[in-house]
């Protein structure tokens, strides 16, 4: 099986996620974009496992674990955004520059 198509799709997904991460000013939108990038990684893992000669289900298992990790990460991220919103009444990253040098 030629994984090129899958790798191209993953690259597209990663690029969209990166664009969103850098472009959007809302923390929620940035988190969603981050999830896209993570999904691209999962696709890559599934596609590249077929090249190793091992059982292809290995990569699928890893992808499922990644989905679980992404879900917990999203939960932690969202709870942080709630806390930030309570503190500064905003989840716009432009307002969160107190660590400026």
């Amino acid at each position: 099986m030629n994984p090129t198509l899958y790798l191209g799709f993953a690259t597209l997904l990663f690029g969209i996620g990166l664009y969103g991460l850098l472009q959007r000013r809302s923390l929620v939108a940035m988190l969603i974009s981050l999830e896209l990038m993570l999904a691209a990684v999962s696709v890559n893992v599934v596609a590249l496992t077929t090249l190793t000669g091992h059982d292809a289900s290995m990569g699928q298992v890893v992808a499922l674990i990644l989905v679980g990790v992404a879900a917990s990460e999203t939960a932690i991220g969202l709870s942080l955004f709630v806390a930030i919103h309570r503190a500064s009444h905003s989840i716009d990253v432009e307002n969160l520059s107190e660590l400026k040098g």
């Binding site: 991460l21 940035m30 107190e98 040098g101």
Partner: protein
């Protein structure tokens, strides 16, 4: 020997403990401080008296050939025999010198309870005096040259601290610095000499050094070492080109001048020459140079004493002159003569300083003409002390100075002749002249009124406490003076004692042996006193010496033969210029370089801080760009640089 060693250790330990006790706990408690210091020196006095009784009187000697008894412990031994050794040396020379130091220190301490009464630094003063007592006794009893060097520097430190005792005034502070630095010039040579000896011998124990120097094949170059050690002697004993610190040292309290700058500390150089006489005698050319240098110094300082008006400066110049006579006696080959003069001089010069202190305290001035106007004759103890001390200093029979100076001149007569000997005798006449000029100027006040002058240098004594000045304080000042005055009549008969023990090989005559030398000396002394009487003493005298009438001579003699000006114009100026250059280098080059580094760090930080704009997305962009660049680089090169 154990008992005497313990006594020698106790003599050093007592003042040290007193010094520590006074300086740490008793600075604010004058009576306790003075009590502790005097008690400690009483212990030292008893211990050193025991040493004299046990060592000097029976003339104990150890080893073959008989020499000083050394007891020392090697501390931190190094392979090859070197290391730091500490111990005591016991022979008639060290025992007698230790007793002299203890007696004079004790007398000066008792006197100081009166003289320094009410001074705000009273406790500190007694702490320093005890410190000096410890250092000086340590120097005298040191068994090897490294230990001696340590105490040699410690007495220098004591001198610095005590000259600058009234450091809040500019003149004593400057005088203290000058004394410290000028003696240090000589001490560089001393240090080098000691290092050469240590390199050659390991532990430079004093008898070993002498044995090595007089042996068939010395392990070191004897003339070089002798010369280097003499540099230290010249600095410490205020000889030759390095004497100008001593007159300035008179800025210290008068009892300090009596103790350090006439009787004991400045005699440390003379003591060292006596101690290592075998070494110096093995370098005859150096010894001859020392003789000539001492002769020139003796005459030069006598001329300076002839025109000084400050009583303490007169005494300081005479100390230099008498130290020169001691060195001449030693250089002429007689340890006994030189050390005999050291002993008698310690007695009568301390007496003269303490007596002058009574007048200074009374008149609140050092100027002899000022003192003369404050009824000096009312100070009975001072008058007795001044007259007895002056008779001894001038060398009038039967006072102590006569016998010892006779011994020195006699030793010189054996060794040198002609012009050198004649000049030495001439110096004795000058001594009598300037001594009695001082006596007449100080005590014959009535005739002075016509020549009252106002150019007196003002140096307030520790006074301004006159109202509290009690009878007890007067007695404390009078008794040491009277005891020392009695001693000037006794010490002169010790000549035989020293001759038998210190120079047994040389011929010796009884104290009242009157040869041509003695007649000539006495005639010169009489002439000097007569001239002083004619110019200063008789009713209607001009009270102006023959040297003072010639303006050129007056300024030349009165200004240390322009030596200070010479030093200021040359060495001091060069040193100051060098220091300025070093300061510029330090402030501009070194500090400047570190400033540039600091500024660069600050500016670099500011520039880098501009990147830290606080936007998370910018950071992410940078991070991803860097990772991407790294990835591309890895793909292209395969990780190979």
């Amino acid at each position: 020997m154990t008992g005497t060693v313990l006594a020698a250790l106790a003599a050093q330990a007592a003042p040290f403990l007193a010094c520590a006790l006074v300086l740490i706990f008793l600075r604010g408690r004058p009576r306790a401080a003075a009590g502790a210091a005097i008690a400690a020196l009483t212990v030292s006095f008893a211990a050193t008296a025991l040493l004299v009784w046990q060592v000097a009187v029976p003339n104990v000697a150890c080893g073959t050939p008989p020499g000083p008894c050394v007891t020392q412990a090697l501390w931190l031994p190094v392979q090859g025999g070197a290391g730091l050794a500490f111990g005591v040396i016991l022979d008639p020379l060290s025992a007698t010198m230790a007793l002299v130091v203890a007696v004079i220190t004790l007398a000066v301490m008792v006197y100081s309870t009166g003289y320094m009464h009410g001074d705000p630094g009273f406790g500190r003063y007694f702490g320093f005096l005890a410190f000096f007592g410890w250092a000086m006794l340590g120097l005298v009893l040191a068994s090897n040259l490294l230990q001696l060097l340590v105490f040699w520097e410690l007495v220098g430190l004591a001198s610095f601290l005590l000259i600058g005792f009234w450091f809040e005034r500019a003149a004593p502070a400057a005088a203290a610095r000058k004394a410290f630095i000028m003696t240090r010039v000589g001490d560089v040579g001393f240090l080098l000499g000691v290092l050469l000896l240590i390199r050659a011998l390991g532990v430079a124990t004093i008898p070993d050094v002498i044995a090595a120097a007089t042996g068939p094949a010395p392990a070191f170059r004897v003339p070089l070492v002798a010369f280097l050690l003499l540099m230290g002697v010249i600095g410490k004993s205020a000889q030759g080109p390095l004497f100008t610190w001593l007159p300035d040292a008179m800025e210290g309290p008068t009892p300090v001048s009596a103790l350090l700058h006439s009787a004991t500390m400045v005699a440390a150089g003379v003591f060292l020459v006596a101690r290592l006489h075998g070494l110096f005698a093995a370098a005859p050319a150096v010894m001859h140079g020392l003789l000539l240098l001492a002769l020139v110094t003796a005459l030069a300082s006598a001329t300076m004493a002839m025109v000084a008006n400050d009583i303490k400066r007169v005494l300081a110049y005479s100390s230099i002159s008498q130290l020169s006579y001691m060195l001449m006696g030693l250089a002429a080959g007689s340890v006994a003569a030189g050390f005999f003069h050291l002993t008698t001089h310690a007695g009568f010069k301390a007496l003269l300083f303490l007596a002058s202190g009574i007048f200074i305290h009374h008149a609140h001035s050092n100027d002899m003409r000022e003192i003369a106007e404050h009824e000096p004759l009312s100070q009975k103890a001072g008058v007795i002390g001044l007259v007895a001390g002056s008779l001894a200093l001038a060398g009038v029979i039967p006072f102590a100075g006569y016998f010892s100076k006779e011994a020195v001149l006699g030793a010189m007569g054996e060794h040198v002749g002609g012009v050198v000997l004649a000049l030495a005798y001439f110096g004795a006449g000058l001594t009598a002249y300037y001594t009695f000029r001082m006596v007449f100027l100080t005590l014959r006040g009535a005739a002075a009124q016509a020549h009252r002058r106002t150019d007196a240098p003002t140096q307030p004594g520790p006074a301004a406490h006159e109202e509290h000045f009690s009878k007890a304080a007067h007695a404390a000042m009078a008794w040491p003076v009277l005891v020392l005055a009695a001693l000037t009549l006794v010490l002169g008969y010790l000549g035989g004692f020293f001759a038998v023990r210190l120079s047994p090989a040389l011929p010796h005559e009884g104290p009242f042996h009157v040869g041509t030398g003695a007649v000539v000396a006495l005639a010169l002394v009489a002439a000097g006193i007569a001239l002083a009487w004619y110019e200063f003493g008789r009713a209607g005298a001009l009270r102006l010496g023959f040297a003072e009438r010639v303006p050129v001579l007056k300024s030349f003699f009165g200004d240390n033969w322009y030596l200070d000006r010479l030093y200021n114009a040359t060495v001091v100026r060069w040193t100051v210029a060098l220091s300025r250059a070093a300061k510029w280098n330090d402030h501009t080059v070194l500090d400047g370089a570190s400033d540039v580094v600091a500024q660069g760090t600050v500016w670099g930080g500011r520039i880098l801080a501009m990147g830290q704009n606080g936007f998370v997305q910018a950071y992410v962009a940078v991070a991803i760009s860097v990772v991407a660049a790294l990835g591309i680089w890895l793909m292209r090169t395969g990780g190979q640089p």
